[in-house]
């Protein structure tokens, strides 16, 4: 009986482990999809209406959740508290368990440039970052499709194998 319970527990643990890894890839993929949407919104709003940054960010996060919303909210708070946001502070804002080190640096540069130049320059720069994010996002999506699915399946298989061994 005890071995049956232990086997079931190991199966559940492996299943959760696999699902956790898949979730990691899913969040990353979703994150880059959203930051691409943000770039699109920034380009539209700056080019056509010259909407202030604060308003664009507020509108973008309205009724949304997730990692990017957490970062944007933190960034908006930073702009209010520091006014002249330092690079170190922006790095803290973009810090995330779902992002790689080099991605955090790109995102820091991206947030640092927002609102700091005239419209034409902003649009050129944001388009440049949008391309980068699309590239990273495509890789993240593929990783979610292949590695995420694989991790989930391996988690199940490992769980079953461990359960058989224990039982």
């Amino acid at each position: 009986m005890l071995s049956l319970i232990a086997g079931a527990a190991l199966f559940v643990a492996c299943l959760y482990g696999g699902a956790g890894i898949r979730r990691y890839y899913k969040v990353r993929s979703g994150y880059f999809e959203e930051i691409n949407n943000l770039c699109g919104m920034l380009i539209d709003e700056i080019a056509n209406l010259k909407t202030p940054l604060e308003k664009i960010l507020e509108n973008f996060t309205f009724l949304k959740r997730g990692e990017i919303v957490r970062q944007i909210d933190a960034y908006r708070t930073l702009l209010k508290t520091e006014v002249i946001a330092s690079r170190e502070s922006v790095m803290k804002v973009v810090d995330s368990a779902y992002l790689k080190k080099e991605e955090k640096l790109i995102l820091t540069d991206f947030f640092m440039l927002l609102g700091r130049s005239h419209a034409e320059s902003q649009i050129v720069n944001i388009k440049h970052y949008k391309l980068k994010f699309e590239e990273i996002g495509a890789k993240a999506k593929e990783a979610y499709r292949v590695q995420g699915a694989l991790a989930y399946k391996l988690g199940i298989l490992l769980g079953i194998a461990l359960m058989i061994i224990v039982v």
Binding site: P52, L53, I84, S117, H118, A119
Partner: protein, 286 residues
């Protein structure tokens, strides 16, 4: 209002002068120089010397961290902030293709706070009798032209008249998110942030105003437009920088002076603040 624009160091420096930021009329900030603060009692300078961060701080707040949203204003040498605050800027122009495209390395700011002085036109109350007129307010910088224009607009604004205020720099009515922070009357339509000449060309038919009010005529297109508006049967009330009519006669304004029924001449006496409260007006028929 002005407090929001000041970094901690700057706010402390202004406080050290014994002046309240909220009561300031003007604050001049220049990198590496003392800050000059003007209120009703006069001008005082700080021991503290401004740094680039003080200017960046004020610009970040004024632009809402969105330089792109104010870049066209920057090219004209100012940024409008809420409440009618106007921030004049000095820096280095960037030229491309023969035109000014940007302003960089901003090194000085002049933060000007508008003041509403209801009753400041009482000394010329006869001008409000007998309907609308074409009026030119003439005064040197800092004498209170905009304050007087605001008050006169308020007084002329009555239900049977439609007044259109072209508030290019947002100083007269201080519109923020569609709401005027300063009183320009209940029957005044406000067009803010639009070039005067563009406004003249497009709004007369659409808005059908009885009087157009505008601040700071500059010459050239403004003068041509004024003549056209008056010819179209619409009254005009405007301000211009000068010390008197004689000074204008020999300039490009010479031709347009004849369209005005009245000139209100605001003379600088003592400090600008003293003038604001004890303005000396003279009405002169042309």
């Amino acid at each position: 209002m002005i407090n929001e624009l000041l970094s901690k160091n700057l706010a402390a420096a202004v406080r050290s002068l014994g002046k309240s930021a909220e009561n300031l009329y003007e604050l001049r900030i220049r990198i590496g120089k003392p800050i000059a603060a003007v209120d009703r009692y006069g001008t005082a300078a700080t021991v503290y010397r401004a740094c680039a961060e003080d200017i960046e701080y004020a610009l970040n707040v004024a632009s809402g961290h969105s330089v792109y949203a104010v870049s066209e204003q920057l090219l004209r040498g100012y940024i409008s902030y809420r409440g009618g605050v106007r921030i004049g800027v000095g820096g280095e122009g960037v030229r491309a293709g023969g035109r000014l495209t940007a302003l960089k390395n901003i090194s000085s700011l002049n933060i000007r706070v508008p003041h509403e002085v209801k009753g400041c036109a009482d000394t010329i109350k006869e001008i409000f009798v007998g309907g609308l007129k074409n009026i030119l307010i003439i005064a040197p910088p800092g004498a209170g032209k905009t304050t007087l224009l605001r008050e006169m607009t308020r007084r002329f604004s009555q239900k049977e008249r439609s007044i259109l205020l072209i508030d290019e720099r947002g100083e007269v009515a201080a519109v923020s998110e569609g709401v005027s922070a300063l009183d320009v009357g209940d029957y005044t339509d406000i067009l803010t942030g639009v070039d005067k000449t563009l406004a003249y060309e497009n709004v007369i038919r659409a808005m059908r105003p009885d009087m157009i009010v505008t601040d700071e005529l500059f010459g050239g297109e403004d003068i041509k437009s004024i003549s056209e508006i008056v010819r179209a049967g619409v009254f005009v009330m405007a301000t211009v920088h000068a010390r008197g009519i004689d000074e204008l006669k020999n300039t490009s304004f010479g031709e347009v002076l004849r369209v005005f029924d009245y000139f209100v001449i605001l003379e600088r006496v003592g400090s600008p603040i003293f003038l604001m409260q004890n303005a000396k007006f003279r009405i002169a028929d042309f």
